[in-house]
């Protein structure tokens, strides 16, 4: 089984915390380092971005990018946590990974995240909704 040691040794200074499981590596990085790590995963390791998951947690708004390394069937899950729930902001990885455009637009409208540097920051799913829907995935969870 391939292991994550090489990646961890290269990017170790940028990883705040990590959870390693068979074929799964969940790790957290700071917002300022996200583009560099995403670029390494996409361009150097040849990973494919499966999707990203935005979640509201007690620590803040969390975004988890799922990078699939198809040659080995492993996942690199890159986590960024934004403690400011009222105005969550993070860097967009769309300039690095074009396939992230739609999922970042979706997370922006569902959770109210601002993706800085996104080429097209407009709603994807709720743009034509007859009601004025705002951050539906946060509505029932907290007052922000």
């Amino acid at each position: 089984m391939h292991n994550y040691n090489e990646f961890i040794s290269l990017m170790g200074n940028k990883i705040i915390s990590k959870i390693e499981k068979p074929k799964r590596l969940y790790f957290e990085v700071e917002n300022k380092n996200i583009n560099e790590v995403a670029e390494y995963l996409f361009n150097k390791l040849g990973c494919r971005l499966s999707t990203a998951t935005g979640t509201e947690t007690y620590r803040g708004i969390e975004v988890l990018y799922h990078f699939s390394h198809d040659k080995t069937g492993e996942y690199y899950c890159l986590r960024v946590v934004m403690p400011d729930k009222k105005n969550p902001k993070m860097n967009s990885i769309t300039p690095v990974v074009r396939g992230a455009e739609w999922i970042e637009r979706e997370m922006a409208e569902m959770l109210g995240i601002t993706f800085e540097g996104h080429p097209r920051p407009e709603p994807l799913l709720t743009g034509n909704h007859p009601q004025n829907i705002k951050v539906p995935l946060r509505k029932w969870r907290s007052n922000g």
Binding site: P22, K23, R24, Y26, R48, L49, S50, T51, T53, T55, L64, H66, S68, D70, K71, T72, G73, Y75, C77, V97, R98, G99, E101, W102, I103, P123, L124, L125, T126, G127, N128, H129, P136, L137
Partner: protein
């Protein structure tokens, strides 16, 4: 330059899902395409958080009518990934069998629609006629032609009766012969070849950049398939190969799907043979799901279905993320539709199998000479095939 916009969608009797495309055209050439989605957004991720894990499986089964078992398989994989649950061998074969049967009926459905759009109605009627026995097999096994309700965390819900295996194998043989006939008729036809070759090319670089999956990526030379990359269920126990072609055009996407159908038949037959001999239970009783997070995926007919589940030790997920393959395949239109004639737009949009193709909506636009004319994409597409047919006579 005045913008001429052709709206495509969002609702049409042919549509299975609603999408809205705006084709920006210069004369008869597509110069840009824009997409809007959201008409079908039903909040499944949010609803799932209020359901138990078993209810979630039923919920995700209803996301799509065509890949109605791919979502449940990916969902149970995600929950099993949290717990590292082992599933019985017999259940692994049943899961693989059901998943592959679904691939056969989905590819046949697409082939029929593609034939219809370019004016090959015989192909459409053949494909849908021979898809029928596949649906009947589902009915024999699960009692339902669609939404089979087979998946459970730790195994499957219903067993395949060993006494029915022979009749299922007989149906399988019959389907294989018919699909061979369709495949030969489709791939040997000179009109079809010249109609589809070089149309709507998606380059390998674009496929990688857009993170495309499934036959859309494999037809462009990207060898990815979850069944080989991360084999689950019985995929490491059966013999099959993944089909990869290099050109990325509509013809290659057709070839990939046709050849994949034969691989699926091969897998189904192996699974059925094993179901004669492999005994034992079909489900491991899972009493609780531990706190944690899990990723589950499955190679649906259109590509990788991805599910992410976060749990807190209760009987409900805290977060359930679902990503269907069309979500990453549809943006590739930005690359594959530019510069093609309007008559080819319909089949190019249909080639990634986004469960839709609505394009009889027409409006008045003006051509290069500023002459207004009515434009009907379906009619244009079929006329182009007719013209080729006449030329080749």
């Amino acid at each position: 330059m005045d913008k001429n916009i052709i709206p495509v969608g969002p609702y049409h009797p042919l549509l299975e899902e609603a999408e809205y495309f705006t084709l920006q055209v210069d004369g008869e050439t597509v110069v840009d395409i824009d997409l809007e989605i959201g008409w079908m957004h039903r909040g499944h991720e949010f609803i799932s958080e209020s359901k138990t894990f078993t209810q979630s499986i039923y919920l995700v089964e209803r996301i799509c009518g065509i890949c109605s078992t791919s979502h449940p398989i990916a969902c149970v994989h995600a929950i099993e990934d949290v717990n590292k649950t082992e599933i019985p061998l017999r259940a692994r074969y049943i899961r693989t069998f059901i998943g592959e049967l679904e691939r056969i009926h989905s590819h046949l459905l697409w082939l029929g629609l593609a034939g219809h759009f370019i004016g090959y109605d015989t192909l459409w009627m053949w494909a849908w006629k021979y898809r029928e026995p596949v649906l009947q097999m589902f009915e024999i096994i699960s009692g339902n032609r669609n939404h089979y309700g087979m998946m459970r965390v730790g195994g499957v819900a219903k067993d395949v009766d060993p006494e029915k295996v022979k009749s299922l194998l007989d149906i399988m043989d019959e389907i294989e012969k018919k699909i061979q006939m369709i495949a030969k008729a489709a791939t040997d036809d000179p009109v079809l070849k010249s109609r589809l070759k070089g149309v709507g090319v998606l380059t390998k670089k674009d496929a990688i950049d857009f993170c495309a999956v499934g036959p859309t990526a494999r037809a462009s030379g990207v060898p990815i398939d979850v069944r080989k990359d991360e084999p689950t269920d019985a995929y490491d126990l059966v013999d099959f190969k993944i089909i990869v072609t290099e050109n990325g055009d509509v013809f290659d996407k057709t070839v990939v799907r046709l050849l994949e159908t034969f691989e699926s038949i091969k897998i189904c037959k192996q699974c059925l043979e094993k179901l004669r001999t492999v005994n034992g239970g079909i489900i491991n009783n899972v009493k609780e799901i531990s706190p944690g997070e899990g990723i589950g995926r499955y190679e649906a007919p259109r590509g990788e279905v991805f599910h992410y589940v976060r749990t807190d030790g209760t009987n409900r997920p805290v977060r359930h993320k679902v990503r269907a393959p069309s979500f990453v395949n549809i943006p590739t239109f930005k690359a594959s539709c530019k510069g093609i004639p309007v008559a080819d737009a319909l089949i190019t949009l249909a080639a990634v199998d986004p469960c839709y193709c609505c394009t009889e909506r027409s409006l008045k636009i003006r051509n290069k000479n500023n002459e207004p004319y009515q434009l009907d994409l379906m009619k244009l597409s079929r006329e182009k095939t007719e013209e080729l047919r006449r030329q080749m006579k």
